[in-house]
Amino acid sequence: MDKNEILKRAIQEYSQTVLKLAYSYVQNSSDAEDIAQDVFFALLKEEKLFLTEEHLKAWLIRVTINKSKNHVKSSWFSKRNEMPENLSYMPKEYNEVLEAVFQLKEKYRLPIHLFYYEGYSIQEIAEIMKIPSATVGTRLKRGREKLRILLGSEDGFINE
């Protein structure tokens, strides 16, 4: 498969993963799309061979995290005073959950996103974030505690 084919398939397969992870950092669709373009451009330039789908997905997630952090740190982004994106098309209960998660610090938000949205295990998150599993477990626990305070109960976060 040539590079263009790999890129096309990766975008079809993982664009939602990349977009939503980026959105959790920037809380804005258009910035999330810019980050996704940067991530897939980096994939096009990447020389490394990905032996498995999981390897490719984990690489895309790591690059998305780095690009999102850089985007948030950029002076353009930090000086801009944009209103939060309107999510009124979404039922209130879900809107509240997203707002609560987005209020968390990155170290709690990222494990929560990877655990509850991507379905990764604690061990897999530890490998992606390059931190010990015990730290991931602690951050998940503390993140859930903070969400319990923000949402009134943890049920509001976990139970559908």
């Binding site: 263009n4 975008i11 799309e33 373009q37 897939f40 096009l44 999510l87 039922p91 170290k107 976060f157």
Partner: protein
């Protein structure tokens, strides 16, 4: 399905977002190729500008260098802009440091120079003062930072590490407030020196890694078997029923007991065989 996942799935991006991303990436790739012929000139210009910037920024750039952790690992820690290694002073078996001023965004790494053996405790105690006090505490082991507690606003700090492998453990205190804080503190290392202490006849004392083989043949019906570590004061479930194997990785004093079906507690020392690992054959030291 959890509510966060449902909410994330409802986040709307335009239907043709994948096509837009693909076209944009391909267009950037094409324009990058066109720029290649101008690269020598661009490189020369960038090089000159970089030299000027490096000269200007190196005059007063914050230090992210430490003997104990890589710059990349430090950059992963939130809100840290500078790092400083501090050698603690030994006295009476403890390690001390006084009047250290920690600037906003600074992490101090406390070096005792001592090794912790597997299962030993290191206790950090201290006092911090400053306006808007807010700090985090963690430790570095094998070049990795591990957070223990963050955003602490109390003046007194007391945290404990129990090592799970022999090596160096460095306490870290990070000032995450917007004003400087002053820190006085000490580190105590508690060794697992249990072999000469009496814990009573019901306690098993072992001097190395070993396996407890529990084979109960009494009249009671056992529900669950537990092993209590007198050093860490931790209780671990060893198993169910009458036959159980439990691995002990560190020397120490342990009580092995079971909860019976009737809710009673019985000590299982009489039904215990201890097998030491090959390199340690000194056996049980009875007290």
């Amino acid at each position: 399905m959890n509510r966060y996942k449902v909410a994330m799935e409802q986040l709307y991006f335009s239907e043709d977002v994948a096509d837009k991303i693909y076209l944009s990436v391909m267009s950037r790739a094409a324009s990058t190729e066109r720029r290649i012929k101008y690269w020598p000139a661009i490189y020369a210009l960038i090089g000159s500008v970089a030299v000027v910037i490096i000269c200007l920024t190196s005059i007063d750039s914050p230090s992210l260098e430490s003997e104990f952790i890589s710059e990349e690992a430090i950059m992963e820690i939130e809100n840290i802009e500078t790092v400083r290694d501090i050698q603690m002073i030994e006295g009476g078996g403890n390690y001390y440091i006084d009047n250290v001023v920690i600037e906003p965004g600074e992490m101090v790494i406390l070096n005792t120079g001592a090794d912790l053996q597997n299962g030993e405790k290191s206790v950090l105690c201290g006092n911090l003062s400053g306006e808007n006090l807010c700090y985090s505490v963690g430790y570095i082991h094998e070049g990795n930072y591990n957070e223990i507690n963050d955003n602490i606003e109390l003046a007194e700090v007391s945290e404990t590490i129990i090592s799970n492998e022999t090596g160096k453990y460095y306490w870290c205190v990070m000032n995450v407030s917007n004003t400087a804080v002053k820190f006085d503190g000490n580190v105590q290392i508690e060794t697992r020196n249990l072999l000469y202490k009496s814990f009573g006849e019901d306690v098993v004392v072992v001097d190395g890694a070993c396996t407890f083989i529990i084979n109960y043949h009494g009249s009671e019906i056992l529900e669950e078997i537990y092993v209590y570590d007198h050093q860490t004061q931790e209780e671990n479930k060893a198993g169910y029923g009458t036959d159980t194997i439990y691995k002990v990785s560190v020397p120490g004093a342990y009580t092995v007991y079971a909860i019976t079906k009737e809710g009673g507690i019985i000590n299982l020392k009489a039904y215990l065989t201890i097998e030491y690992e090959a390199e340690n054959t000194s056996g049980i030291i009875s007290l």
